[in-house]
């Protein structure tokens, strides 16, 4: 290992997990000690990650309050070190952490709201994609429809929750008229997150549409996704789903897999 690599690995370890400083660091400075300096770096590390989480999870922070959120992020940061120089990538595992974080168990829907906020965050920063070429699609001979592979917008995510996460999320957006009468027993729901004209939209969709879109996102052909969806949801309306997903910018491209 090179000296530089050795020095900086020890330094990183002392910032992230509180290990000792590299020996090569000078001990004393003009008006403070090396320990003070290290504490500044440790605070910066935790503070930057806390601020990143606070930016990504504003609804969670409102739901649990600032003080509890700080406790929660402190524990999360200790368990999940940063893995990317781009801070926008930090915090993907918060939902799974919340699900196991004992002090948060009294708020059963918290993990699902965290999962929703993470995909909203990803949708906000997702790459741009073009619009679906409807003219080209209309040229595809009908006998090839089952083999069409649709490409969904990079911002598009489908979630399913036991709780009314969509209502909870909307009630905690800036300027929202708070609805404190959300019925937590209103039953499971499917949620579609996608970016429409640069704004992240969160809305409930039917379970059939959610299943079909999940299939499409997983790479299933139009035929495969539709057959699988109809098997579980006989009332699935393919034409309506296609129209809705196209006009809302969820489907952005297609390719045609030649029948073998």
């Amino acid at each position: 290992m090179s000296d530089l690599n050795e020095n900086l690995s020890v330094f990183a370890h002392s910032i992230v997990s509180g290990a000792e400083m590299p020996q090569e660091v000078n001990d004393g400075y003009q008006s403070y000690s090396a320990d003070t300096a290290l504490e500044v770096y440790r605070n910066n590390y935790r503070g930057n990650l806390h601020d990143a989480l606070s930016g990504t999870y504003p609804v969670i922070e409102q739901l649990v309050g600032e003080a509890f959120f700080r406790l929660l992020t402190r524990e999360f940061i200790a368990q999940y070190p940063s893995r990317s120089a781009n801070l926008h990538r930090y915090g993907a595992e918060l939902a799974e952490f919340v699900a196991t974080f004992a002090p948060a168990q009294s708020v059963p829907y918290l993990a699902d709201v965290a999962a929703l906020e993470w995909v909203c965050h990803c949708a906000y920063f997702a790459e741009d994609a073009g619009a679906l070429d409807v003219a080209a699609l209309s040229q595809v001979p009908p006998e090839h429809y089952p083999d069409l592979i649709f490409i969904s917008d990079p911002s598009c995510h489908v979630l399913r929750s036991q709780y009314p996460c969509t209502a909870i999320w909307h009630a905690h957006q800036p300027g929202a008229v708070s609805d404190f009468n959300i019925d937590l027993e209103s039953g499971p729901a499917s949620v579609l997150v996608s970016r429409v004209e640069d704004v992240v939209r969160v809305r409930e969709i039917s379970d059939a549409d959610a299943e079909w879109l999940s299939g499409i996102k997983a790479g299933a052909s139009l035929g495969q996704a539709t057959v699988a969806t109809l098997a579980r949801h006989p009332d699935f309306d393919l034409q309506a789903a296609l129209l809705a997903m196209t006009t809302q910018g969820v489907l952005t491209g297609f390719s045609h897999r030649e029948a073998s």
Binding site: S2, D3, L4, N5, N7, L8, S9, F11, A12, H13, I15, V16, P22, E24, V25, N26, Y29, Q30, S31, Y32, A34, T36, A37, L38, E39, V40, Y41, N43, N44, Y45, N48, L49, A52, P81, S82, R83, S84, A85, N86, L87, H88, Y90, A123, Y124, F125, A126, E127, D128, A129, P154, S155, R195, D198, V199
Partner: protein, 277 residues
């Protein structure tokens, strides 16, 4: 006055454009010489890049990276570099800069701007990475001096000497952060005049000015205050020795109303004009 190639910022004062001011700036189009943003905040598509492109229609834009980790011992993150290249292609910035620091070692990422020992080994390493970044971007990079809270006993040269070597080896330019240098004089006993003497004036493409805070005797580069008198004094000295350059007012936390930032920029502008006279 000589200026680094590729750097087409006007030689006037500009401000760091941050999220709380996006709307006001785009709606009122105040008189700003130029704006600088943190590159990583505009990686990807959607609203961030669209906002920046609108600003780009009215002001020269400088892209200032906080995540490349030029001195990190781990391999350069090519995904990060690709994203910066994509951003440069769409924004066509007047200037692109990064910090002389590291953020990743042995797979551990510290999302901060960290100091390292100024050794020959580090010099070869950093120079190679600057070459890699400049080759990918097809343009010159400005490299910013760092504010540090600690130093390494086995450094073989000063930061100023290290920067001068980087310029000679890679053709990069220098972003001279006057506040960072001031923080280092107070924290580490760095000789500010020796720093100014060590760096090649012709390579300096931009100045930064900001306010720091203090924690247990250590000055911390928090960018949450107006520029202090001692930093204006050092800026004036740099202007005399190096010459006027595009100058940025940076404010990143406890961000004040836009007119406060513009007042600070006006003050910097007066220093620049006094220097021209």
């Amino acid at each position: 006055m000589s200026m680094p190639a590729d750097n087409t910022l006007p030689c006037v004062a500009g401000i760091g454009l941050r999220a709380p001011h996006y709307r006001e700036v785009l709606e009122t189009l105040p008189r700003l010489g130029w704006v600088e943003v943190h590159s990583e905040n505009f990686f990807g598509g959607g609203a961030p890049i669209r906002t920046l492109l609108k600003a780009r229609d009215h002001y020269p834009v400088s892209l200032h990276g906080v995540g490349m980790g030029l001195a990190s011992p781990d391999p350069l993150d090519t995904g990060h570099l690709d994203a910066l290249k994509q951003l440069c292609d769409s924004v066509q910035p007047a200037s692109v800069s990064e910090h002389l620091c590291w953020n990743t070692a042995a797979g551990m990422v510290v999302n901060d701007l960290l100091p390292f020992p100024y050794t020959r080994e580090a010099l070869l390493h950093v120079a190679g990475r600057i070459d890699q970044v400049q080759a990918k971007l097809g343009r010159q990079l400005l490299v910013e001096n760092l504010s540090s809270y600690l130093s390494f006993a086995h450094s073989e040269m000063t930061e100023g000497e290290f920067l001068a070597e980087l310029v000679a080896r890679t053709g990069c330019g220098i972003l001279f952060d006057v506040e960072n240098l001031y923080v280092n004089t107070r924290n580490l006993g760095v000789d500010a005049r020796a720093f100014v003497d060590a760096i090649p004036a012709a390579a300096v493409g931009e100045y930064h000015l900001a306010g720091f805070s203090e924690r247990d005797g250590c000055l911390v580069d928090t960018h949450n205050n107006p520029v202090f008198a001692e930093v204006w004094e050092l800026y004036e000295y740099a202007l005399q020795q190096i010459g006027p350059r595009p100058t940025l007012i940076e404010w990143d936390s406890d961000i004040p109303p836009l007119n406060v930032l513009m007042g600070e920029a006006d003050k910097a502008q007066q220093f620049i004009e006094a220097c021209h006279e």
